[in-house]
Amino acid sequence: LAHGGGGRLMRQLLEDIFLEAFRSPALAERHDGAVVPLGGQRLAFTTDSYVVTPRFFPGGDIGKLAVLGTVNDLAMAGAKPLYLSAGFILEEGLPLDELRRVVASMREAARECGVEIVTGDTKVVDKGKADGLFINTSGVGRVSEGVSVHPRRVRPGDAVLVSGDVGRHGIAVLSVREGLAFETPVESDCASLAPLVAALFEAGVEVHCLRDTTRGGLATALNEIALDAGVGLVVDEPAVPVDESVAGACELLGLDALYVACEGRMVAFVPEPQAERALEALRRHPVGAGAACIGRVTEGPAGMVSLRTRLGGQRLLDLLSGEQLPRIC
């Protein structure tokens, strides 16, 4: 199993094993969270597990991430996040003090997002059976009437917006984990996207699709949408916000910032005429201050994301099979 980098292998794994076994209409939507009917209302429901190393990094920790990640997945379904569960797998020997810090951070993050952690579970496993601490969170939220956010609604001509500069989380975690001393330290972008989504709806923007740009970064999120929506995307490289410190780190590492993970960034697909209004709404919130329009949806070829480069050329921003395996050395 070498499917960790997101991308093509992961997509295949999901298709071959899970979608195959658990067929359901909600699953077939292939969104971050499912929207299911419950007592006349529509409920968004999602789950995610967190295994990040290191557990503490500039701008956040595994606890904050566990709350925000699930809150964000609910927000990406167009829901208002409400309740979370939290499950912990602790490896024997984990310092209790660390656990306390993580839990405090979760409480703080939940408070900020306005969600309640209402149930949980804890297991302790023998030393060596886990890597310190794993957290799973599940969440439910309510989807307002008339809201319908998923890849199927993406239309040729839609504008593609990104809520801020990309790649900070991945670089921040990497630099701490690997002990890389970059010129300018990079802080994770980890943040709740729920207020941004709320702001879009309040501004009356007809949001077609939302996707947080987590594992595999912006490029992978765009590819997934393009594949699931059966459309093409054209992205303007100079328009994609990348912080200078991230760009510098990527240059040294030989990474493409567009493939580096974020934890507080999303792409939004909205009708072109509403793009300006949407941007204004996003930018009013600190997390969306760096929002930008980065491209548009085209008829096809389906599933292809094309990047117009700084040099005026064009390159395919494709779904890579796993790690960024050099192609052209």
Partner: protein, 754 residues
């Protein structure tokens, strides 16, 4: 009286072969007939035995220059007492076979016609005949007849019609013939698409544009080219800026061989290639600038002792160059790394900020075909980029079923095997862009349709992220046929074997930048024993890490750091103080230590890079292969004591570059000049090749992979191996670089199927 039935296989249509047969038969007083079939030409002749024998010999000896006879089958049939010799209508029965000629440069007769006032085609840019003119660029389907070419929209005038029907005319059945009365015309456009002039006025405007230092987009034979005055440093620099191509050498088109001779040395063999029907860009040694009548700006090929030169290959080019009277930079009409534009609309959309004027015409171009690039080696011509003039000429692959090979990622080509012959497409370029990926797919469809080929298997590279691999996977699923994944270097060796008709076992030295190996690392300094559908890795370079992966391509200094880190650990950075800032070096060393973003490689290309950086020649590269080229040029022909590069026993054996690197560092400390270090390095590789060959002990050695574009390396290795009695083969008609992969893939798949 005897009668013989003769079948001629090969490229014998669209090259004036039937009129030649007619003439050869009637001159000897023979009777019978000739007819085109989709798989060649069929002849029956009757007459006195000596005359018939002479006729059969003449077929291969005196055939028109563009004809390629692969096989001539002769059988005895009963005489019929015929009196005359006829040309019969085509026989469409047999399935299409690869017998499509490549585009042919304008012949001397047509050039003379265009130049002589009073001729009907005086100054006509689309003059051609059975011996010359467009073929592959205008072919829509087979058999090759005018209604199935992009000339179908131009109705022949009475004069052209008469020539077309006259068996004694040079234009008998010349499918693309045209004249000012009935053929295509040129116009000049502004970047906004507005028309500025037609015919002579258009030509005049185009001439002015380049004479005044402007960029001209020219819609030529196989697509758009960008032309600027090669003698003007400003014009060349401007083109570089517009095209975002800072350093990569440009090719130059000269008005005449004579003009070219004042800038480059041209041997008689080279002159023959330049003026042949293929008329490629030929890499020539530049002459010392002193005394040159015409001088080409340094910016054309900065720091490069070679110049890619070509001569006008259509009347349009000839008229233009003649009027300008200066050599012109001639580069593909595209943005960096995208495919060639062929349609005017598309060119205006993509190049309106690059070109000042567009000289266009109304003859549809069916497929993009770039200029070929070749060079003369002591063994003869070596094609480095195979396109105009060479594609789609077929290669025999005896016993092979119908196959499709999708090639690599850079310099890509596709190969279709049908009727035991492989047709390798023209060079398609890089697949990194959407346009590139689509061109690959279109080209595969195009070849399969033309040749009515239904592959029983597909072949591609091992790399999962090549666009060609993705296409292969999809097609294999859609068609329900097996996909053969061929290791990159195996394909390199197999391509050269196919070209020379070798079966195996052979020792293949596949030295290149990198390709994915069967162990998931990046290979590139490989010695493989190839036999049947398989291979055995018998030796390779000692592996090292490349901090930052692909980024190392632009920064040879990274390869140097990776190499040194392998033997010195954290101390590596100390040797590269002048090329890395302290903080950069710290991060990169950490990456190397932790194996982060630092793929393992045995790449020969990256070893070249590392040596170029360590010897102080190049720490960074503006384009692929620049550092290796700098090393080759620095080495020149100088003889030198080789650096130690021992082959350590093992399975596979490992070429240990550590002693080489240590010796190089000590040379550097002693202030040894870079050219000497470069020469010692080249010789070390030749010695290595020799040790590998001796250790393996197979009599035949194949040299392939991009590193063998290095002429000094190729020569040194060949010389040493031959001195030891080995038979050495290197790619000639198909590129040693990744342009040859599709051929190799098909060759391996053919073995796999049998």
């Amino acid at each position: 009286m005897v009668r013989r039935a003769i079948t001629v296989h090969g490229v014998v249509q669209g090259v004036g072969f039937r009129p030649f047969v007619h003439a050869a038969a009637t001159a000897r007083g023979l009777a019978g007939w000739v007819r085109n079939r989709t798989d060649g030409v069929r002849i029956e002749v009757e007459g006195p035995e000596p005359a018939v024998e002479a006729f059969v010999r003449a077929l291969s000896r005196e055939a028109p220059p563009a004809a390629r006879l692969n096989r001539v089958e002769v059988s005895e049939v009963p005489p019929r007492d015929e009196r005359a010799f006829h040309i019969l209508a085509s026989d469409p029965e047999a399935p299409p076979r690869p017998s499509v000629p490549a585009d042919l440069a304008t012949c001397p007769e047509c050039l003379a016609e265009v130049a002589s006032a009073g001729e009907r085609r005086f100054r006509y840019p689309f003059t051609n005949c059975t011996r010359c003119g467009p073929r592959w660029t205008l072919l829509e389907s087979l058999p090759y007849d005018r209604p199935r070419t992009s000339m179908k929209g131009f109705t022949l005038c009475a004069d052209c019609e008469a020539e077309y029907r006259d068996v004694r005319d040079r234009r008998f059945h010349a499918q693309p013939i045209a004249c000012p009365a009935c053929g295509p015309r040129v116009s000049l456009l502004a970047p906004d698409g507005s028309r500025l002039g037609e015919d002579e006025a258009a030509l005049r405007g185009a001439v002015e544009t380049v004479r005044e230092g402007g960029v001209l987009a020219l819609r030529g034979l196989g697509g758009f080219h960008l032309l600027v005055d090669a003698t003007s440093p400003e014009a060349v620099t401007r083109l570089r800026q517009h095209k975002c191509r800072p350093e990569k050498p440009f090719a130059v088109m000269f008005p005449s061989l004579q003009a070219l001779r004042s800038v480059c040395e041209v041997s008689p063999e080279e002159a023959a290639v330049l003026t042949s029907a293929s008329a490629p860009i030929l890499l020539l040694r530049g002459r010392a600038p002193g005394g040159a009548e015409v001088s080409v700006a340094e910016a054309v090929a900065p720091g490069n002792p070679w110049l890619g030169a070509l001569l006008p290959y259509t009347p349009l080019h000839a008229l233009l160059l003649d009027a300008v009277g200066r050599p012109l930079v001639c580069t593909s009409g595209n943005l960096s790394d995208e495919p060639l534009c062929i349609d005017t609309e598309e060119a205006l959309a993509r190049l309106h900020e690059v070109a000042d004027r567009f000289l266009v015409h109304d003859r549809p171009i069916v497929r993009p075909v770039d200029d070929s690039v070749a060079r003369m080696t002591p063994e003869g011509l070596q094609v480095l980029r195979r396109a105009r003039g060479y594609a789609p000429l077929p290669l025999a692959l005896p016993g092979a079923p119908c196959l499709l090979g999708l090639g690599g990622q850079l310099k890509s080509t596709v190969a279709v095997c049908v009727g035991e012959q492989v047709v390798v497409s023209q060079h398609l370029g890089d697949l990194g862009s959407l346009e590139g990926a689509r061109l690959l797919e279109r080209t595969a469809e195009d070849l399969l349709r033309l040749l009515e080929a239904r592959p029983v298997a597909l072949a591609c590279d091992l790399h999962p992220d090549y666009a060609s691999t993705r296409l292969a996977e999809r097609l294999s699923g859609e068609w329900g046929v097996p996909l053969v994944r061929v290791q990159h270097h195996h394909a390199h060796v197999a391509a050269c074997m196919a070209e020379h008709g070798l079966s195996g076992p052979v020792l293949g030295l596949a030295w290149d930048g990198a390709g994915l190996g069967t162990d998931g690392t990046l290979w590139g300094g490989e010695a493989l024993v190839v036999e049947g559908a398989g291979f055995r890795r018998v030796a390779h370079l000692r592996p090292f890490s490349l901090p930052g992966g692909e980024r190392a391509l632009r920064e040879p200094r990274r390869a140097a750091l990776g190499l040194l880190h392998e033997v010195e650990g954290a101390g590596a950075a100390a040797h590269l103080r002048e090329t890395f800032a302290a903080q950069e070096a710290r991060v990169l060393v950490t990456m190397l230590e932790r194996g982060l973003q630092s793929p393992r490689t045995t790449s020969m290309g990256r070893l070249f890079d590392a040596v170029a950086a360590l010897s102080g020649l190049r720490a960074r590269a503006g384009f692929e292969g620049q550092a290796a080229m700098a090393l080759e040029y620095a080495a020149g022909d100088g003889e030198a004591e080789p650096y130690p590069l021992p082959l350590r026993e093992g399975v596979p054996a490992v070429a240990d570059w550590e002693p080489l690197v240590r010796a190089l560092l000590s040379d550097r400390e002693r202030g040894v000049p870079p050219p000497l270090m470069a020469a010692r390095f080249h010789t070390a590789l030749a010695v290595l090749a020799e040790s590998i060959a001796v250790r393996v002990g197979l009599p035949r050695v194949v040299l392939s992979g991009g590193c063998f574009q290095n002429l000094r390396l190729l020569r040194d290795v060949q010389t040493r191996l031959r001195a030891r009695g080995f038979e050495v083969f290197s790619p000639r008609q198909y590129p040693p670089n990744d342009g040859g992969l599709s051929l190799g893939q098909v060759a391996v798949a053919a073995r796999w199927c049998s």
